[in-house]
Structures are given as structure tokens and as C-alpha cells.
């Protein structure tokens, strides 16, 4: 089932349990009151193909924002994207 249902929030966050970079993105999403769906992925980097198919690399965090069509990894970039797109200055 790859089609998203209407109730699914537009933002999907690919994360790893207890990954500080992921938690940083979670914090930013919550600071901006954004609704998102968490997908917890394979801890072993070499097996993280679900993420690789999306972003071309296996690193998490990664987000997909269907509202803007953006797919992105690296917490620094994601935080900046969220702040620019959904922050008060946006």
C-alpha cells in the first residue's frame, strides 16, 4: 500500500530510535505544530534501502513533504527547510 490515505499527514519523517539528529528534527516539527507521520527504519545502515530509494542515500533523518514535493536528508538542512517553509518569517 504505497498510496497515502487522506488522513495521513503530508509530512513523513524517516527516523531511527534514539538518533539525536532525528530527535532534533522531531523537536523542530513540534515547535512548528506540524503534523507528521514517523517511520522507524532499519538500524543497520547498509540495509536501509527504504530511505535510499527516496533520497539516494541511506542516512536518517529524512523527510518527505507532500505539500511542497520536497524530499530531503541531513538534519541541518531539514531544520532550515522547516524554519524557512513553516516558520513565522515564511
Amino acid at each position: 500500500m504505497s498510496e497515502s490515505t487522506p488522513e495521513d499527514p503530508p509530512i513523513t519523517l524517516y527516523r531511527l530510535q534514539a538518533c539525536p539528529f532525528c530527535e532534533r528534527v522531531v523537536r523542530t516539527l513540534e515547535e512548528h505544530d506540524l503534523d507528521y507521520q514517523s517511520r522507524f527504519v532499519e538500524p543497520l545502515h547498509s540495509k536501509r534501502d527504504a530511505v535510499k530509494r527516496l533520497t539516494g542515500q541511506r542516512s536518517v533523518p529524512a523527510i518527505v513533504d507532500e505539500t511542497t514535493g520536497v524530499t530531503m536528508s541531513e538534519s541541518e538542512n531539514i531544520v532550515e527547510y522547516i524554519e524557512t517553509t513553516y516558520g513565522t518569517g515564511a
Binding site: 500500500m1 490515505t5 488522513e7 507521520q37 514517523s38 517511520r39 522507524f40 527504519v41 532499519e42
Partner: protein
């Protein structure tokens, strides 16, 4: 099963019967690559769901049930989404799915709350502080109405797969 001695009998289960509404729940649903919180109603929105409660991953009843369900592949013949549920953690589910090439997704419910909601708890002897679900099968239609229900009354006991198929035929 005729073993020539008594097998363990479980208490009479009190579960939602045919025609009852299947209790809604949200739990992590695990596939071979990731897991995410999913509501039962999100699955039934796409059509009927076969919800299979099974023993924790690694126990032989879980292996038997999933081998049979994978062999029968009801979802290739019928409009049905097949999902499992056990107390195993998402990590264990992911390993179980990978080891068996299981084409189905499994809900993870370590605190056994869904089995409690469905009246199919199995208190385990020799596992202090651990309870799981007894084997149980619910065929739930798109309106979240139970169309077929079965729960084990002995331990171990396995679903009647032909009965499940009959119920799928009647949908």
C-alpha cells in the same frame, strides 16, 4: 488433536462475535523495511482485513500459522488485507518477516492491550510478568464489522484455515 492425554484448556474467551464492531486500535505496523503507527480503521478503509493474533515471534505456533497463511495466500484470491499482531517488538517482527520472506505486515503490541480489548489474552505459564494473545482470527469488513471470529480454546490450537476461506467466500 488426539494425543492420548489432556492438553491445556484455556478459559472461555469473550471476544467480538460475528456482527459486532471490531474495536479500533493504533499500533506500530511493521513491514520488511520500517514501521509506523497505523489504525485498524486505516486498513479497513481499503476493504476487508484479516487480523491474526499469534504467539510471540520465535514460538512454533507463530511459525506454523504464518507458514500456512503464506502458502494459502488468501489475499491473491480475495479482496483482503492480511495483518498479524503479537507482543513482539518491531525489531523482532522485522527479523521474523525477513527470515521467512513473509509478504504480510505485523502489528507490534508488547503491552498486550489489543488482545485485552479483543478478549483473547493468554497468560503464559513460566513467563513471569508476560502475557500475550491466544491464537485468534478476526475477519473484519470495510465497516469494521466482524464477519468471522475464532479464538483458541486449547493451548496450542490452530485456526481452521478452511473456515477462514469459507468466510472470505461469504464476504
Amino acid at each position: 488433536m488426539d494425543l492420548g492425554f489432556d492438553v491445556v484448556e484455556l478459559d472461555e474467551p469473550d471476544y467480538p462475535e460475528e456482527g459486532a464492531s471490531a474495536p479500533e486500535f493504533v499500533r506500530p505496523l511493521v513491514n520488511d523495511e520500517y514501521w509506523e503507527d497505523v489504525a485498524l480503521s486505516e486498513l479497513t478503509a481499503d476493504g476487508p482485513v484479516l487480523l491474526v493474533f499469534h504467539s510471540m515471534d520465535g514460538a512454533f505456533p507463530a511459525t506454523y500459522i504464518w507458514k500456512e497463511l503464506a502458502d494459502r495466500a488468501f489475499d491473491e484470491q480475495y479482496d483482503v488485507t492480511i495483518v498479524g499482531l503479537s507482543i513482539s517488538t518491531p525489531y523482532e517482527h522485522k527479523t521474523f518477516i525477513a527470515d521467512r520472506n513473509l509478504p504480510y505486515r505485523l502489528f507490534s503490541d508488547p503491552q498486550n492491550g489489543v488482545a485485552e480489548m479483543y478478549g483473547v489474552v493468554n497468560d503464559l505459564g513460566g513467563f513471569a510478568g508476560v502475557s500475550e494473545s491466544r491464537p485468534a482470527v478476526f475477519l473484519i469488513d470495510g465497516d469494521r464489522t466482524v464477519r468471522y471470529a475464532w479464538a483458541a480454546r486449547e493451548w496450542p490450537e490452530f485456526p481452521d484455515y478452511d473456515e477462514i476461506e469459507n468466510a472470505l467466500d461469504r464476504l
